[in-house]
Symmetry: C2
């Protein structure tokens, strides 16, 4: 379980960690294969913890329960909720992206570094109805434990494809998507008339990489006021996804 804190070990084993009651509830409910669950002895003190434990047991998922202190040494959160699951990383498949409906949005992440931002982006993508996420090389691991927590279960519902830009952009163009970059000086999203949009958002500090910027069909952005130079990437993407999917 401790080994799965590193990307290398997650990729080698094909497994990831999901921590917290809400996230493990969503995991168990998602159909992804959960290998086993570690719980603290106080998990079942709450009704919700008790219900989760019953559900995990009902599904025949192996459980190991340890004292709160030992549990805390496995937890990545400051106030552990008493449950961590080990589950299998779903296959990274092109299929959900290849035959989109007539109107569709894909969110492409280009070197987004902060796992909290990554997870928030996945959560917004699901909530606002995106077809899926493409995570480009240089982006934080989608299965980073903090990213999984921030996604609040959406990592288990939204297809996440890990791909390099060249292959991803070819695939998206073939499927009829316009490639649209998020940038501070882009067009208002409401003026974009494309029916299938792959929205690319960039790194927290540097924005879009040159490779991506050079192959965009359009740039869109949120008009800004005040002295703020930009929005946080997850805030900007939420607004743009909202405009593109409304």
């Amino acid at each position: 379980m401790r080994a799965l804190r590193t990307r290398k070990n997650r990729e080698a084993s094909g497994r990831f960690l999901a921590e917290g009651i809400r996230v493990v509830e969503a995991l168990v409910d998602s159909g992804l294969r959960t290998r086993w669950v570690l719980t603290s002895s106080s998990l079942t003190d709450s009704r919700r913890g008790e219900a989760l434990m019953a559900e995990v047991t009902r599904r025949g998922i192996p459980v190991r329960t340890v004292a709160d202190e030992l549990f805390a040494s496995f937890a990545a959160t400051e106030k552990p909720q008493g449950v961590i699951a080990v589950a299998e990383i779903p296959e990274s498949s092109r299929r959900p992206f290849e035959a989109p409906p007539s109107r569709a949005v894909v969110l492409v992440l280009d070197a987004v570094q902060d796992p909290g931002n990554f997870g928030t982006l996945v959560r917004s993508a699901e909530a606002l109805g995106a077809v899926g996420i493409v995570s480009l090389a240089g982006t934080v691991d989608p299965w980073n434990p903090k990213a999984v927590r921030a996604a609040a279960g959406s990592s288990f519902h939204v297809p996440i494809l890990q791909e390099r830009w060249h292959a991803a952009s070819s695939m998206l163009r073939e499927a009829g998507y316009a490639i649209v970059g998020a940038s501070v000086d882009g067009l208002p999203a409401s003026e974009l008339r494309e029916r299938r949009v792959a929205l690319v958002v960039g790194n927290e500090g540097a924005g879009l990489s040159n490779e991506v910027r050079d192959s965009l069909d359009h740039s869109i952005g949120v008009p800004l006021r005040g002295r703020a130079e930009s929005l946080n990437v997850a805030a900007a993407a939420a607004i743009l996804l909202y405009e593109l999917t409304r």
Copy 2:
């Protein structure tokens, strides 16, 4: 400097920490009083660091430079950028809220707990043209170092008032604001016809407190798809502020 990591010491001394090149650039430029700056000896290896150091010196702000290793023991970030400033917390004043223009939005934070979310909310509020922030009792300290970093300079530009709900809601109503809560099942923001809106967003897990919920004029929300139960609070607020200020 280490003492200022706790809210108690920040409130007792009236000082806070600003870490990182971009944040200290904004601080120095803001007119807030910067008491002194700690830099690492390698700060001036970059052009941007060198320019910041020159500006700090030009303004007569005392600087203490230490070796990178010692600097790292003061830094709160994993990859320190070599600069931390100690500055004075600006006065928490009602004035910016009391005579709003005919169309205005205030963002009210009700027990938002995560400093990263708080800072992102402040950044979005500035970028989208809100009049200011009201931070209710039970909310994370606006001057928490992580909140200040996540706000990317906006903490120094947007008025932040710390107030209890009863006093804050009376003040806002007297100034002509409708009190509008963000909730998953609220009206679409585009249907709201009020000209002055105080938008209240709640705690990451529990949402709005009962006290706030009971005194709302309206509830607004973002229509959701997929199986996501909600958006991250900073993503939801970004969309709602965008709708209310467009």
